[in-house]
């Protein structure tokens, strides 16, 4: 039985791995026999396939449990890259590449179970000084896995020189692409997307004590059913009741307190949310200049100008969010996210129905099958030469990656 399983897996290995030496078995639990390891691997693959069937969002109290006990978000010591067939690159960053992937050697009925596999090379992560950010990302994603509007990290794992995060695939692509093609969204569309984002921020801030810190249309994907998924938690940080100081984010979306380096917290997300709503409705953010320093000068001054066609409610919402004084900023004042949810601009939103995905989204991607990638751009193939993960690096850093 186990031998048959091995045969099936190896015969389906992606060609990319043909010339590579077999990965070291560092992840297997000591004391497990080869057969037991293979059995556990198969078991995990089955769990993943089963999860993909339903993709059921969890209730807040179900998300809050220890990731090791949750159906999604655990660190797998058995999964390997070879358990997946890498189909196509969906996106690249400076140190990460996201692949469209399916289970290698799928069982009957599992052929169409599609995932996104985020692959990070340890030497690149170290070179670009992103070790801390990558750890934050994995741990925040594990903690929030199961939320209806956050990309689900089904599992994470690693091998000798690479970190992997297995994520759910959002075939709709980035809200950014739709927004640029449409120039701007009308009010109902903007309200719907903004409302799903409010639920995400409410959950991250008030249940998790996490500041997301990089809200923008590029980081919001649309799933097969037309709902949002927030991705890229590289700057997300558990701040709880302490302020933090590292400048990070995207120029047009930075909050004034980040620019002035006076210490910041979850309130930066509410500022960025105001910018986001503005960009939805207008097609570009309120503060802009060719010269980034001029953008920052405008942000610190905090005077938002509205096109005459914008509704008074939308102006009021954006103005209350994009308030330089954090003691007056909507979302940061007493009542937290509740003050945003009860703003008149969201009058028509049924928040409970929204959380349970019972409201139909304005854009439902038309797809030819679950592995359709038409909503993603083409990317260059991965460069062949990689930095080696030397023994020296390994000794210094491998403990930092232990969570994976």
């Amino acid at each position: 039985m186990a031998a048959a399983a091995i045969h099936r897996i190896t015969s389906h290995l992606h060609h990319k791995h043909d010339d590579e030496p077999p990965p070291p078995k560092q992840n297997a639990y000591p004391g497990e026999s080869e057969e037991e390891v293979m059995a556990r691997r198969e078991e995990e693959k089955q769990l993943i396939a089963d999860w993909e069937d339903e993709k059921r969002p969890l209730e807040p109290d179900q998300i809050a449990i220890d990731p090791a006990k949750k159906i999604v978000g655990h660190s797998s010591k058995h999964l390997r890259c070879e358990d997946f067939e890498l189909i196509k690159t969906l996106g690249t960053g400076t140190f990460a590449r996201v692949w469209l992937a399916r289970l290698a050697g799928p069982k009957e009925g599992d052929q169409d179970k599609i995932f996104a596999l985020k692959v990070l090379r340890k030497p690149d992560v170290i070179r670009l000084k992103q070790v801390e950010h990558v750890r934050n990302e994995r741990n925040v994603l594990a903690a929030v896995a199961g939320h209806p509007f956050v990309t689900t990290m089904i599992a994470s794992f690693q091998d000798h020189d690479t970190l992997y995060m297995l994520l759910d695939y959002c075939p709709g692509g980035e809200v950014f692409s739709y927004l640029r093609r449409a120039r701007r969204f009308n009010e109902p569309t903007s309200q719907f997307y903004a409302a799903e984002i409010v639920l995400i921020l409410e959950f991250l801030h008030e249940n998790q004590g996490v500041a997301y810190r990089d809200l923008k249309p590029e980081n919001i994907l649309i799933d097969a059913e037309g709902h949002l998924k927030l991705v890229d938690f590289g700057f997300a940080k558990k701040v709880d009741n302490r302020e933090t100081y590292t400048l990070c984010g995207t120029p047009e979306y930075l909050a004034p307190e980040v620019i002035r380096n006076t210490g910041h917290g979850c309130a930066v997300d509410w500022w960025a949310f105001g910018i986001l709503v503005y960009e939805f409705l207008v097609g570009q953010p309120p503060f802009w200049d060719q010269n980034p320093m001029k953008i920052y000068e405008q942000i610190v001054e905090g005077k938002v100008r509205y096109p005459s066609a914008m509704s008074p409610e939308a102006r009021d919402l954006i103005g209350s969010l994009c308030t330089v004084d954090t003691s007056k900023r909507l979302g940061n004042i007493k009542g937290g996210a509740g003050t945003v949810k009860s703003h008149p601009w969201f009058r028509q939103i049924d928040w409970d129905a929204l959380y349970h995905r019972r409201i139909q989204g304005p854009i439902v991607p038309h797809l030819r099958g679950p592995a359709d990638t038409r909503n993603f751009d083409e990317y260059d193939p991965e460069p062949a030469d990689r930095d080696p993960y030397t023994r020296e690096l390994q000794e210094k850093y491998d403990s930092s990656f232990a969570d994976f």
Binding site: K129, N186, Y245, Q284, P292, P307, G335, R358
Partner: protein, 472 residues
């Protein structure tokens, strides 16, 4: 023979919809479902056509016809302050030699030719359907309703400054820094001696820069002290190189510098590698300020045109000075707040919110900070200096206040007149918070005082839990 996979996908998603909606009229539900899919596919098809037309061109300004209510002020015409660089021409694209390099097509006037092709298509897709349409984009005008919505949008006077960069934006981040007092190392900012003259010139040179204008006296003194002299003994020395990583900000003490920009985004080898000369900077001018925020590629090359002297400041030093003083001040506020009995039941989270909202004011000696009989509106903590308390009818001070003492806290509770006057007896710095600010953040103080078991509150507001979210 198996069913076509497209078919299975449609049926599977119909099954999911049926399960979710549990419709009573199944046939109508299925018909609606397929109609929606059809509509969506058609819109999708048109959209992808539109998309392929745009290949090779950024989706930029000429997509957006119409008047521009944003006017010219966003395009950098109000050059002021820091940017004392003299412009050779009116091309405001290079308003500052220190701007980060944006993708060339955002700056390139030639880009417009790429956009000519999208004009025809752009108006068709100005709008997405509403909540319930389920359609992915604006259907063609044969669908009623869609055309109407379209009208609303193109009609409006909304438009764009004609230079917005419509490409994907990259994230930026600076070095991760931890406050000195939170770690073991004992960092103090470097200090380089300067004559009073030099100091005054430096102060004037940075006064127009918003990064410096928010600094208090101590921060300002530390930052100016940290500027380090660099002399450039000859002409033709490159201080910063276009495309390189940026770590330093510079102020010109003496001499003159030329600014060059190569359209390629970086300095190229060869005689023309510098690109065009776009400006010059002389004494009192400055450049490279973006490097004080994060590590962005230099947007220009700056080269000495005669023997010159510069003052240099690096990002980590600058940000650390700001961070350390902010960190220390917050911790000081929090510890002061812990001493106020009225606020003893605040959780650490709430205390940090209040500390965040406290604002500092300086008063010279002999200033009446609060006056007996006035309606109290704010609460004060004495951050430095001394003050005395006077009551009507008593000619001697009834109390003296020093660092860490607080007064006026009853103003948070009610609008009763002040019970006494507080007069500064030296130059003082006070942190203050108004009643309104307090209530906005935490609600009425009465509610906080009514918490009968503060220790329990603290215990239950464990990690990651926003106490504000509880018990609402």
């Amino acid at each position: 023979m198996s069913l076509p996979s497209d078919y299975s996908n449609e049926i599977n998603s119909l099954n999911r919809e049926v399960l979710k909606a549990q419709p009573s009229d199944v046939l109508q539900f299925c018909a609606n479902f397929f109609l929606r899919r059809l509509e969506s596919q058609r819109a999708e098809f048109l959209l992808s056509q539109q998309h392929s037309n745009q290949k090779g061109g950024g989706m930029a300004e000429s997509n957006f016809p119409g008047s521009n209510p944003f006017g010219s002020s966003t395009s950098g015409t109000n050059l002021s302050g820091m940017h004392s660089v003299e412009e050779e021409d009116e091309n405001d694209v290079f308003a500052s030699p220190t701007a980060s390099s944006f993708p060339p097509n955002a700056m390139d006037p030639n880009t417009s030719r790429n956009q000519a092709s999208d004009k025809s298509g752009s108006s068709t897709f100005g709008n997405f359907g509403g909540f319930s349409s389920g359609s992915r984009s604006q259907p063609p005008s044969s669908f009623p309703g869609g055309a109407q919505q379209q009208q609303v949008n193109t009609d409006s006077s909304q438009s764009f400054p004609n230079n917005y960069n419509m490409n994907r934006r990259t994230s930026v981040s600076a070095e991760s820094l931890n406050p000195t007092s939170a770690s073991d190392d004992n960092w103090t900012p470097p200090h380089h001696q300067k004559t009073p003259d030099q100091q005054a010139r430096l102060k004037a040179a940075v006064s127009g820069n918003f990064l410096f204008s928010h600094l208090d006296d101590e921060q300002s003194a530390q930052v100016l002290g940290a500027l380090q002299e660099k002399s450039l003994p000859a002409k033709g020395i490159k201080v910063i190189t276009q495309g390189d990583v940026g770590d330093y900000f510079y102020v010109v003490e003496s001499g003159r510098f030329d600014i060059y920009v190569n359209r390629s985004g970086k300095l190229e080898p060869g005689p023309d590698g510098l690109g065009n000369k776009v400006g010059q900077v002389g004494p009192g001018g400055s450049f490279g300020e973006l490097a004080l925020m994060y590590n962005a590629p230099r947007a220009a090359t700056v080269m000495s045109s005669e023997p010159s002297t510069l003052w240099a400041l690096d990002r980590v030093t600058f940000r650390r000075i700001l961070m350390d003083s902010a960190f220390q001040r917050r911790r000081m506020y929090e510890s002061f707040l812990e001493e106020v009995p009225l606020l003893s039941s605040l959780t650490p989270y709430e205390r940090s919110k209040i500390a965040d909202a406290l604002s500092t004011t300086k008063f010279p000696s002999n200033t009446t900070i609060i006056k007996e009989g006035d309606v109290g509106r704010a609460f004060y903590i004495l951050e430095s200096g001394t003050a005395e308390v006077y009551k009507r009818g008593i000619d001697k001070p009834v109390r003296k206040y020093g660092k860490g003492d607080y007064f006026g806290e009853l103003a948070l509770l009610d609008d009763k007149p002040r019970q006494a006057s507080v007069v500064s007896s030296s130059e003082v710095k006070v942190a203050q918070l108004g009643k309104e600010g307090f209530q906005r953040l935490l609600g009425p103080v009465e509610g906080i005082m009514r918490r009968n078991d503060p220790s329990k509150m603290e215990g239950s507001a464990g990690e990651g839990v926003d106490p504000l979210a509880q018990g609402r």
